[in-house]
Point group: D2
Chain length 290, copies 4
């Protein structure tokens, strides 16, 4: 893929935003590959995502120059904005436990160039996944969290995790069936940067053992939800969801098997959109430009 | 369609049930058109549904004779069972309010022979649907329920509804977006005979205004649930569910529009399965042989 | 819904199109409600759709004034463009035969304001649908086409149909299971203005009796396709498609029943997008901004 | 999972088949875990699949004894039948080329016990997949097929493949994106034993480069088809199919990415059903008891 700059903008809606932004880009000869916008009638906020072909801008006019040129427009319209460069892929850490289906799937897609990022490391509280992770040439780091340990043992584990993330310069944390509840301040410090896959169609069956809950309730579809993590468990902004049909003959174990397929595809889709800056936060909801 | 007898059976699971049932049918020369079974490992209950071609049995050996012949087998295996005759279609009453999409859809499918039943009447607390109902040659009965009226006004309305249902010899009551909460004893007296369509993917968004709830939560799919009504609101056994994709640009009004399509198809499917005796109760869950 | 002007544009892709168009609109104070664009890398064509809030433009600056103001921009970029006014709904004619499921569904949605248009008339080669059409207050016109009649009887029938369409000032013709092959010149004279629903997932099972073909081939899903009609049967640009699961136990009659639901929803969706100017032609393909 | 015997039966439909079969099983105390049947009205053939709990039969009454006991019933009803033992998993060979998404997925599912079989070996005409295959502890065998080589070079390659399959005692051959057309006699010698995944919704886009064909035609969904291989390319009995939504903005490369997910899930589902003896041949169609 050719190099692109991706500009994402959120600001109060008013007349002339797109004209100002595209006018600036066109003024420098910039060619727009893709653009999508959304005006939210409820909040009065405006959302914009534009992909600019890097080589269409003049020589020497890189992302820094584009950002500088953009500053006055951003100020005029009171914009919150980000400019990313596809030549600098995001750095991702996967947090996992013993189950490997999401980790194996993401590693496969990364190796097959289906998702563009650097996978900096996989962190787990168990050793089980070391083999598959290292086979992919990715660093594996085990940070044990002992159930029922002294109160601050978990806090210390998360301090260590935070140091690893810092050292690896991680941009995005993916909870690939991590099974541990993150400390609230850990979440609060990384808004819109931690992605979780929950194995139910939220808000149904939040919390523990959703496939058991689904089995007990006798639903006819199961689902999975990819969402940003906030301090409130399973309450963060939803990025993507999907469902699969089951029936009365399916045991909990069969729900798990069917569910793993939904989890994989929903997480992969949600992560890809995040990595391509296609997900914008709108309060506790998301705007997704797929 | 040729005339069939449909036998549905629930009993404790043990060796020889199917052999005994099919042996009896074959012993009278009965030809089986369709059969499906399920052994529930959790409850130890066994579920069986068999369609027998009426004309394959000897002359004079009708549903009553078949039932008599079946009695000893049923007793031996401690069966709860029903035998229905496709020549005696079930009598259905639709309860509706002002919104007509479910009623119009069911009337259409009934007229087009997509669902086999007699629609005995439509009962509503408003006059709005009289035109379309009567155009289909179906009796329309308005039983008003005034919001905020004296406490026993609602009770009296439901006594009147009960009289209509009795007079019309109704087998199945369909709440086709009725919008009124039924009295608990009214529900308790008709287990597995009242079918509701709820406009969400239960257990998400139970209760009032599910599309508003879905909009507020920012889910990426909406759904509908067809279930039997019990005294616990939105908690009865689920017959069928389905979902449709939405996105951030969809207003509550657009969720309603998309949702109406899911409601219609989910209700029509659930009702058809019920009318064809394809739904067996298993505690608060259902076994569906589609 | 508030009044809007919808501008659709197709032109060779180059730098500055969006800046020019949105700059012109913003220059007159125009507020953009929705916008979507697509640059086709294969053909080098650019596609744009913009919804402008009518009341955001100055008093006296209506669609004609906007069109005049837009002329120089259109000329500069060599645009093919259309400007429509949501206060002037498109006039639709439905062509049908004996089967009523698509006609009944579209009439229902029209009456329920799910699709915004004027249904000018329903034309059929049979009398069967007169009752339901006239109940909706829509003119019904029977133009018989006798199978195996003299060669020019069909030509004469289509001349009469053309006169009706002319008199009713019809913008869009919907073949709602019309079952007659249109004369090539009739199609050629109305490019992008005749919409058909074909009861298969094209290009599978083009031509006659697609459910029989699907049954014979033993496919596991059936589908429906909404497309623009061209002189080549079942070869026109596809607007929308969808599929439903079937299995080995489904007879041709059951495929028909399941298929009717897909046909209805696919046709309704495709027609709605067309009526809202969300479908742009790109050679024999479509760009759809849903 | 507990040990089971799976009995599959095809025979002319007549009264008493199920009674005879289940009577025999019950007569030996056999407990039926699952049963499904289908009477084909078009061909007059009857299809039956029964899972018997091995331990419910008397000690010493194993699969051979069950088969012997079953012989008279089979003869009476002119049955084609198979009895398999879940303790003797089927032996599978994967044939692949350079693309690894299907092979990687099947190896993952095999390792995760989602599909029950022995993967005997992976045979490829290229060396690319050796690493991932051997990491899973599976034998990898490269049998090159040079394009444009002398006429009998390909025949010799398939003789070598046949020897490997023979030596490995392979029951099922899976073409996991193999990209080579098999010799007709190779297919004819293995009816119902070679499974292919075709990357389109057959019969649409049979033959080469289906994603290009889909892109050119402008379809709105793409699909995948898992089918048994016969001497007629892409014409064999269909086991499973599914589709995914695409739009005008998706390039051929994006169709490939989306398509890989459908291919994986459709192939895994079809193969699992085959391994569990859930797929019965009915002429050029299949009966699937999922």
């Amino acid at each position: 893929m050719m190099r692109r700059y991706v500009l994402t903008i959120t600001c109060p809606d008013r007349v002339g935003i797109v004209a100002a932004v595209t006018g600036l880009i066109a003024g420098h000869g910039g060619s727009v590959l893709e653009a999508a916008q959304h005006g939210d009638l409820q909040t009065g906020r405006f959302f914009l995502r534009i992909e600019i072909v890097a080589d269409s801008l003049p020589p020497g006019f890189g992302p820094d120059e584009l950002a500088s040129a953009f500053e006055p427009v951003a100020a005029e319209f009171d914009m919150v904005w980000h400019l990313t460069d596809t030549d600098r892929p995001k750095r991702v850490a996967l947090l996992a436990s013993k189950e490997d289906h999401c980790v194996a799937d993401l590693l496969y897609r990364w190796r097959a160039d289906e998702i563009e990022c650097d996978i900096a490391c996989v962190i787990s509280n168990h050793e089980d996944l070391r083999g598959i992770v290292e086979w992919h040439g990715v660093r594996f780091r085990c940070v044990p969290i002992v159930a029922g340990a002294e109160p601050d043992a978990k806090a210390k584990a998360f301090e260590e995790i935070a140091r690893v993330l810092e050292r690896e310069q991680v941009d995005v944390i993916v909870l690939a069936r991590y099974m541990q509840i993150l400390p609230p301040d850990f979440c609060a410090a990384r808004p819109g940067r931690i992605i979780n896959i929950h194995h139910s169609f939220l808000p149904s069956f939040a919390g523990a053992r959703p496939y058991h809950q689904a089995f007990e309730r006798g639903v006819k579809l199961i689902g999975a939800t990819c969402h940003y993590v906030t301090a409130e468990l399973d309450e963060g902004p939803i990025i993507e969801q999907d469902t699969r049909r089951i029936d009365h003959a399916d045991s909990v174990e069969e729900l798990r098997r069917v569910g793993r397929d939904v989890e994989r595809t929903v997480l992969a889709r949600g992560l890809r959109w995040h990595l391509e800056d296609r997900v914008l936060l709108n309060g506790n909801k998301t705007v997704v430009f797929p």
